[in-house]
Symmetry: C2
Subunit: 159 residues, 2 copies
């Protein structure tokens, strides 16, 4: 099995409150770990901490950038970003890890990603034109990275 | 709260084996039920029943069409279908229920939807260009229909 020589950081806002979502997330993370080194960093969700939304989003953004400091390539997940299919995503990940070694995917909370995060990231990706709750968006990302691992390794994986 | 006068059937292949997926699905279904009459029909998954894939898919398709017999409008979920954002989906659902009353969304299993299903459905929708496991595709659909309900009712719902 081809294991990707590199490292993926998934930087996300907040912990998943639902046990069920957390279980599914952890399962996909574990599976993804068979294909590459991966780390999920959950920065503090600043909603409801007494800040206006704009400030909360900025603070979350700063934490996301700090959590990915050692990374050579940051990709922002936004619904208006570049759309890919699963094969294109696999090719993208293989290529980016090949060139940059350490890469990160940044995914916002309910407030979305701050302008600073969007300006710092070198690329954007969109999982769908639809707007999902951030718990679901996070699951989609991790499942798709796992799927990319199986595609790069030439394995079959069911729909 | 505006409740949609109509009925949505979600016709899907197989039961969700994972307890966690089932919990999340049932939660969104319950929430969707506040906005319109909705029914989930799970037809038998024919994979591993001794049929070639082509035959299994055809049998699943026949069951999906049978399960939606009383419906005036069938929408097939396929990744190559028409892409919409969440607002467009809400507008689509409101419009179709307004015109047709009883509508159905048909979503395949690991094998996908048979040609007969695709030819019988009046429209297609795509949740994403990405290929998801059918458990996730089903969650996305139900969550988006729930979201459509909140959008039509003019309520706010977090990302």
């Amino acid at each position: 099995m081809e294991r990707l020589a590199g490292h993926i950081t998934i930087a996300a806002v907040g912990k998943l409150r639902s046990l069920q979502f957390r279980f599914i997330q952890d399962d996909y993370l574990k599976r993804l770990g068979r294909y590459t080194d991966v780390q999920l960093v959950e920065v503090k969700d600043m909603v409801g901490k007494g800040h206006p939304d704009e400030v909360a989003m900025q603070k979350e953004g700063e934490a996301l950038l700090k959590a990915t400091e050692g990374v050579n390539r940051r990709i922002a997940l936004v619904s208006t970003g570049r759309q890919v299919d699963s094969l294109e995503l696999a090719e993208f990940v293989r290529n980016q890890i090949g060139v940059y070694g350490r890469m990160a995917f940044l995914i916002g909370g309910p407030l979305g990603l701050s302008l600073e995060v969007l300006q710092t990231c070198q690329d954007t990706l969109s999982l769908s034109r639809l707007t999902f709750p951030h718990e679901i968006a996070r699951l989609l990302l991790i499942e798709q990275l796992y799927r990319a691992g199986t595609i790069i390794a030439g394995e079959s994986y069911h729909k």
